[in-house]
Symmetry: C2
Subunit: 393 residues, 2 copies
């Protein structure tokens, strides 16, 4: 007979999932109502409204897809792309690479605009590529590249893309709730995210939003969307006024998303984003004070995900294993071409607290010392100042 | 400011979701570990083993897809069908109809074998259709048609399908954990289910299983699977020994599925199935004792989902609304061509308890009386006998 579930206690400081707020865990344990119950339809309405606040949009079509962030990625491509469409994708990390694969499976003719894994995609690259491919209908970039820790600036690219009459599609899986996504202000036409990063709910839903330009492209489709499960022409009738049954929504996950978004909105979106910047910066200063190198240069770094260059002679796996086994701290390793070259440390949502920064820096110092790497003394004193000492709950 | 989540208390006796066991709700509230944490990989292994027990299979490829039952449906079709494949589908309800739509979106040439909404698909129909279409590569039927309450016998159909060299694909969304699915004994080649019916976990995952014949068909594919998110060639490397990162699994939902399956296996699969038959039968006897007609004839009825013909002159919506508002009991209405013609009453998983049967019959009697329909006296005494009085917890 199998025993009851008893997973070990962790502090999740990897590239996601992040720690889930206790109130959100409580929401997960709420007994269910039916997915067509009038009270659930009200909860869906509230969740849509909260998503709009965090996405910073008025978009009517702002819903949570019943899958994880990658299902959100697939949602935007299957609904917007028709076979033969030319789609331009910025590829400077794993998630750009994944978008290429997903778009090609939709029959897109993909044009890759390549960047270094650790650098941004430059607006001039997009402009040049659009000059060479003026028949491009969609341009897609990753706002927060989880595989590298790069923050992709969007405004200039958005303006160029619209000059060329294309749609801008953005991956905001690791940015939503941590930094400004500003859908309407920037002019992002379609965007998807996940629940398990800065939103700090468990993985399982993907918030997506589409503006009128994107809806027009969908309305002009000649072919059916290749995925029944992700077909927004039906899903918007379930989340919309009609409430047509499509599939059974993951009710508990909607409960969790509503609660997680409610916490962000009650704390204030500005304050939440400011918190990510504040503690992200302290962490990054601390890492540099330890004499370590950050993989991404200043000014291009995400606050919620920091990539650290693994110093020579230090065993990648041993460091991660010791952090996990001795301190219960999870951090991430490198992916793809950065495997074995960087560590990725997340400060997302509920995990983004000063106490986690201080614990991590101290534990990291110890674990590195075991590996023969000695950091200068006084790292924490050098980065934590009285004005930072605020406990977030 | 939005208030904390406070959904009303319900007894879920519709076509799903069903009530979730308190231990499963508790599992949902468990703090998360990372999706690549060694402890989570162990939990995945345990969950796979539990799924095999409930599916009654040795199939290596038995995993939980990160979506609801409809994502499971899409999984089997996108992975097994290649454009131009001839796929035969039994259509005697909404979910057969949905399979046609999904298969066509995969480029299948679909042959529909039609049945009444409320009757089974007869083996002779499949045999005749296969004679006319011997180049059929897949035959798909729904084991438990949630839209009608029909239990589809599978063994004869499986034998015929295999005689013709095709694969048998089965929708077990509403059957798994409630009645025997018996993958290996029957010879089902591919099967998908959901968590929110007789498994009694929240909606959000879809257990699927594929045998070697199905794996061979996948291995022979000439084209990529059109869905990245549901591509089993990658997903089996995440659930398998390799543990390659594919997408972030819905960790809390896996916790819940493990706990829900653990309860079934600890109670005993036989005992759990027997419980569904026992209380399903009592409910159905009670409905008939009330002078009402069941939509499906004796011998073809599912125990876990009972469809009741709405008596003339009784207001469908008023009855459901009063059950919900006065008693907190959710039942389902008819779908598709049965809209307004039947009610659907579920006794699935944790909802399948004698106390729910007795409460429902009593409340139903009252609500019908308000609508002018008077049932004979003594219904409950006539169907509940001492040997049925077992409290299940």
């Amino acid at each position: 007979m199998l025993s009851e579930l008893k997973p070990p206690s962790r502090i999740l400081m990897g590239p996601g999932p992040s720690d889930v707020h206790p109130h959100v865990l409580k929401a997960m344990a709420t007994p269910l109502v039916g997915h067509l119950d009038p009270s659930f339809l009200e909860i869906m309405n509230e969740t849509m409204q909260l998503m709009r606040i965090v996405f910073e949009t008025e978009n009517r079509l702002t819903v949570a897809m019943s899958g994880t962030g990658s299902a959100g990625m697939e949602t935007v491509f299957v609904n917007l792309v028709e076979p033969g469409d030319k789609v331009m994708i910025g590829v400077n990390g794993l998630f750009g690479t994944r978008m290429v694969d997903v778009a090609e499976r939709c029959g897109a003719e993909v044009v890759q605009v390549k960047g270094e894994w650790g650098d941004i995609i430059y607006p001039e690259q997009i402009e040049e590529a659009l000059k060479a491919h003026p028949d491009t209908v969609i341009v897609a970039v990753v706002h927060a590249e989880t595989s590298t820790g790069v923050l992709q600036p969007l405004q200039e690219i958005a303006d160029i893309v619209h000059q060329y009459g294309a749609l801008l599609l953005v991956d905001a899986v690791t940015s939503l709730g941590g930094i400004h996504v500003s859908i309407d202000k920037v002019g992002i036409d379609a965007c998807y995210s996940g629940t398990q990063k800065c939103i700090s709910a468990p993985p399982g839903l993907s918030p997506v939003t589409f503006n009128e330009r994107a809806l027009e492209k969908m309305a002009r489709r000649k072919s059916k969307v290749q995925s029944w499960y992700l077909d927004l022409s039906m899903i918007q009738n379930y989340w919309g006024k009609e409430r047509f049954y499509h599939h059974t929504a993951p009710i508990s996950m909607v409960y969790a998303l509503r609660e997680a978004l409610r916490i962000i909105v009650n704390d204030g979106l500005e304050e939440t984003i400011e918190r990510h910047w504040r503690y992200g910066k302290i962490l990054q200063n601390g890492i540099e004070a330890m004499g370590l190198k950050l993989h991404v240069e200043e000014g291009k770094r995400l606050p919620e995900l920091t990539s650290i260059v693994i110093p020579e002679g230090v065993d990648d796996l041993a460091v991660r294993k010791n952090l996990l086994n001795q301190y219960g701290i999870e951090i991430g390793g490198g992916l793809g071409e950065l495997k074995g070259k960087i560590w990725r440390v997340g400060l997302m949502g509920y995990s983004c607290q000063l106490r986690n920064v201080v614990l991590f820096l101290s534990a990291f110092e110890e674990v590195l010392r075991e590996q023969g790497y000695k950091a200068p003394k006084g790292v924490i004193e050098s980065v934590v100042r009285p004005d930072n000492l605020m406990f977030t709950n």
